[in-house]
Symmetry: C2
């Protein structure tokens, strides 16, 4: 029993540390996601601003046609970049932040619920045993004694069941934890790979053209 | 003179609009730069967090070696990604935000300084003319009259000079403005191209390996 207890406390300490670590990791991931979302919004605003140049209708814009059409083209590229940023932010939310939230809400919450149930069952079993041990050894208590024996047996069964469920969940957590740590990273990596693949296509097709046309213009 | 005046007001209106637009554009660019900086910091924090997993020293981490080494590897890749983000943020600051700030501080501020100088010179010239016109037509005023004629001529010359400088600057602004609008975009584009080129290298070399090894682990 004492061995079980000390093993249990090791499991519990691990689960507590894991909960703490999960919360910190989740915070970092949400910060990355937040930065990525803001990047999408900021890029969108920049693209809008560039389009506004034309609407300013500068009176002395006679030589501006070239600048305007370049800025328009550029705004389009920035707009496409903005789509990539938004897509990346969405993928981060879905496949990095969400799995870890689910791990916390489902697995870690289950542990603490089962721990609570196990605690209540232990208390009930101990209360039944105390009641039984305090019973005066008189003949007329036979009926009451039989009832208490039943209660002790019932609460012991209940406690045993609760402990099994709790131990099982703690044990399963050791395996779940590995997937829980790796799954968000897998999501993050896939999102980054897709982002860079689409990004390199965008910059090599559109932005390279923009780059050379602007360089030419500025040398004039 | 009236034609000059109305042409001047067109130039001035344009310069005013350009100042307003420059400030808005600068705001958008600073927002993009801010998001990019935050992305670097957030990515760095995530990389640190992943490294902390090992230090947690989970008691029941017997099967964790594989997870730990995967997270370490992953943290390294995230760290390299963080370098790319910081580099991008620095390039944005140097070649997108800075040129536009310089345009505002140098060219636009020069315009408003020259406008002020021109205004003062105009006032002085008008004051001299008013003094001259109010001079009583008496013989004994000959000396004073000669002085005032000199003053009128002197202030006219000064005003003429100030107006030339102001007109020239307004005119030059029409050309400077094109470069000023395109230069930051050129910087932005070059920074993005370099970011995606390095990024695709990073993800195709390191992250692809990570991806397949984690996929394998998670299927086990």
């Amino acid at each position: 029993y004492s061995l079980t207890r000390s093993l249990l406390s090791v499991f519990e300490e691990d689960a507590g540390m894991l909960t703490e670590y999960t919360n910190q990791l989740l915070q970092s991931m949400q910060r990355v996601f937040g930065a990525q979302s803001e990047m999408g919004l900021a890029t969108e605003q920049l693209s809008q601003r560039l389009l506004e140049y034309e609407k300013k209708n500068f009176a002395l814009g006679k030589g501006d046609e070239e600048v305007i059409s370049t800025l328009q083209n550029f705004a389009k590229s920035v707009g496409e970049l903005n789509s990539l940023h938004s897509e990346l932010a969405n993928q981060m939310a879905d496949s990095m932040v969400f799995p870890l939230i689910q791990f916390r809400e489902k697995d870690l919450t289950e542990i603490s619920t089962l721990k609570e149930i196990f605690g209540i069952a232990t208390d009930e079993h101990e209360a039944a045993m105390v009641k039984y041990s305090r019973l005066p050894k008189k003949k007329e208590n036979e009926k009451l004694k039989a009832d208490l024996v039943k209660e002790v047996a019932y609460t012991r069964r209940k406690q045993h069941q609760a402990s099994l469920q709790y131990y099982c969940a703690l044990n399963a957590l050791q395996y779940r934890k590995r997937v829980a740590m790796l799954e968000p990273m897998l999501g993050y990596t896939q999102a980054q790979i897709s982002f860079f693949k689409k990004g390199i296509e965008l910059v090599s097709k559109k932005m390279d053209t923009f780059l050379s046309s602007v360089s030419n213009m500025m040398q004039k």
